[in-house]
Amino acid sequence: MKAIKLILIFFICATLQSCYKTGDIQVQNNITKVKIADVKWGDIYIATELLPGETSEKLTICKDQEKLPDSHKISFKMTANNKSIYLETEKEYFLDEDDNLLIVLTDDTKVKNPNE
């Protein structure tokens, strides 16, 4: 009986610790005629690939992934015409607890190649 109680307490703690909802994040690709891949907010993976006009699924940032509030750049691989380049935004995007952040990348979004 004591052991069962211990297991229950453990599972309750694990559930609380593993994914306590803190904030939601989405990225929309509104850049003309390019797809973007490996989209990340800091080190957190947002989407594998986004076609022009596509929005990523809502990603809930768990407490074990990131301590909020925090702000990070968006990094991605831009692909067109069978060529790709790795880019990251100059701006950092701020996500607070219980926020629902939609980041829209457009033609006017300031970006840079980290190698330059």
């Binding site: 052991a3 211990l6 297991i7 453990f10 694990a14 593993s18 850049i31 003309t32 005629k33 390019v34 490996d38 990340k40 080190d43 993976y45 074990d64 990094s75 691989k77 831009m78 692909t79 067109a80 015409n81 069978n82 060529k83 790709s84 380049i85 790795y86 880019l87 990348l105 457009t106 033609d107 006017d108 979004t109 300031k110 970006v111 840079k112 190649n113 980290p114 190698n115 330059e116």
Partner: protein, 183 residues
């Protein structure tokens, strides 16, 4: 039972370890998606012939404007020559030689790095990138400029064509020798 709890804790710790999937620095330049080797450089030799059949002797031929088919390829300078070893005569404000002097041009399309700031500019750059597939092409020397002994700069428009072939998976091609005529 304690063992079971220990296993559960160890399992949870292992699951929580994240794999580092960040891009390596090699992934950060423009690269071809299908893994093919893109054509990069066009090599050519140019010599500058005057009306009295002598050749211009300068350290370098500058701002050589090159088009491939109808596409602007690059503007570049020739490799520098040590003209002190060349048999030449001073004629007015320039040195001339009876021997042909070839200047090496290495025309690299990526010679001019894009200085872009927005996602739209990079998108346009990727969409406009001109990739040379295997086949025959025409190379046009649209203009060039040279600096004479009095430091005056003269620009010429020879509009001379030559042809070259791009081989499969080749990064460079030799377009041969082009004679450019000036007055």
């Amino acid at each position: 039972m304690k063992r079971l709890i220990c296993f559960l804790i160890i399992g949870l710790l292992l699951v929580s370890c994240d794999k580092d999937d960040s891009l390596s620095s090699a992934d950060r330049d423009v690269f071809s998606e299908d893994g093919s080797i893109p054509f990069k450089e066009l090599l050519l030799l140019i010599n500058i012939k005057t009306t009295d059949s002598t050749y211009l002797a300068v350290q370098s031929v500058d701002s050589v404007n090159i088009y491939i088919n109808d596409f602007y390829w690059t503007k570049t300078n020739s490799q520098t020559l040590d003209t002190s070893k060349i048999d030449k005569q001073l004629a007015g404000n320039k040195y001339l030689s009876k021997n042909k002097i070839n200047y090496l041009i290495i025309a690299d399309q990526t010679g001019e790095q894009p200085d872009y700031n927005t996602a739209g500019e990079f998108a346009q750059y990727l969409n406009a990138a001109y990739e040379l597939q295997p086949g025959y092409y025409a190379c046009l020397i649209e203009s060039f400029q040279v600096t004479f002994t009095d430091n005056s700069i003269h620009k010429y428009y020879p509009f001379e064509y030559t042809t070259f072939k791009v081989e499969q998976n080749s990064v460079s091609a030799f377009a041969g020798e082009i004679e450019l005529k000036i007055d």
